[in-house]
Assembly symmetry: C2
Homo-oligomer: 256 residues x 2
């Protein structure tokens, strides 16, 4: 297990919960020390910018990363892409089933995390930027209104229904967590992404909670939110506030 | 190594190269027998539909999959999500560096594959369906024209430039393949996704090839396409034709 203070140095976008927040939660949930370089000092931000610069070709061990989050582990290892970082950290942080007892479990956890990222992070981002990631929201607002309407009517119910169904399934071992009867990083990703979606679409999410159609999914959300270490983190000043990132609250994109 | 005939049964969407095509290429490139159930018989399609039904809660070992592709390995293991299936198959098919000699290599390969899927598959799909996945192209054509314009102007150059840069980097060990001087599944995913993008946007891709700005990336594309087993597969009737899937050719979305 990696438990040495600061042996895991995380490089992530500053100032708000974004893709890197899934990684932060993995560290926080397990009480693993980490350095959040881009939120802790100015130099850290420059370090991340140098990594994602169009001039960076990586080094002898590491291809260049396209974008944050980037995990630095020790002096030589740099790993990018959120689900990939979680896959790397999962066994080290005991956030996947024991790979000797259940060698396939880690792949199920990975599939669940990828699906949460698809539906509750990537698609949620696209509701406010359906046309061009590099342009302003205001320049694609009419399209965003349409995209968000479809997201609330079709996509969000589809994904919440899916996770509710996973929790009904026998492989969840009782429906307390998504897989194997234990907290895994898939639960943390599901929580974080739905937390972001709740920030973006508070009325739509309240409506879906009240419908009773997704009770197991919302119970999981509440369960993760109430874990001692997660609760303490969410109440700490290490937890950033949502802003103009993946999950944005534009009232006009939510239910009326 | 898994080499028994039909020990790997792949369940994928029928009739055209889609997300599952990345998995087919991994089998084809390594001469690994597989059963492509949804393209081989009617029962196979029903089998896939039962898996992704809103009533399916999985079984004792496997959570339900949200969508194809789904890999069935042996009698008990079902794995979903394309990058996850590739991560699972990579070491078994020798499509990642030897994990004893380079334990981190598989994560670099995974990051590269995820990035190719993000930029050349998911975003390519969204050019023709920017508003609602469940609606017709014709009902979101005006938005698609804008999205495709941004894709050709900004996103495609960004991703091709990224892979070109990866090939310049030392970690590629010479620039013949993306990582570690050997064919990995990241190369196959890059090839397949750029092949799909070339089907969708033949003029834009020809322009980018002629620019000379992405020579290493296009050389990799040509190299993979020319591998004996890939070449034979592409010329066989196992390779389906593109149709109304992820990569669609609408001339109005391409360069003029």
């Amino acid at each position: 297990m990696i438990k040495k203070a600061h042996s895991l140095v995380q490089k992530i976008g500053p100032g708000m919960p974004g893709r890197g927040e899934n990684i932060r939660l993995a560290f926080e949930a397990t009480g693993t020390p980490y350095t959040d370089v881009s939120n802790e000092n100015k130099e850290g931000i420059n370090d991340v910018l140098a990594q994602i610069s169009a001039d960076n070709v990586g080094d002898a061990n590491n291809p260049p990363p396209l974008a944050p989050p980037i995990l630095k582990h020790g002096e030589k290892i740099l790993i990018s892409q959120s689900p990939n970082i979680l896959f790397y950290l999962g066994p080290k942080l005991n956030l996947v089933p024991n790979t000797d007892e259940d060698p396939v479990g880690i792949y199920h956890v990975n599939a669940l995390a990828l699906t949460a990222l698809d539906g509750l992070s990537n698609e949620a981002h696209d509701t406010h930027h359906p046309i061009a990631t590099g342009d302003y929201y205001e320049d694609q607002k009419s399209e965003a209104l349409k995209k968000a309407k479809d997201y609330r009517a079709n996509r969000l119910p589809k994904f919440l229904g899916y996770f509710n169904r996973v929790l009904k399934g026998e492989a969840s071992k009782g429906g307390e967590y998504l897989y194997g009867g234990q907290l895994t990083y898939a639960d943390l990703v599901f929580f974080q992404c739905l937390n972001g979606v709740t920030h973006a679409f508070p009325k739509a999410v309240a409506r879906m909670r009240e419908s009773g159609d997704y009770d197991l999914a919302f119970a999981l959300y509440d369960r993760v939110k109430g874990l001692d270490k997660i609760k303490a983190y969410l109440e700490s000043d290490r937890r950033q506030k949502y802003s103009l990132g993946i999950w944005r609250h534009y009232p006009e994109l939510d239910d009326e």
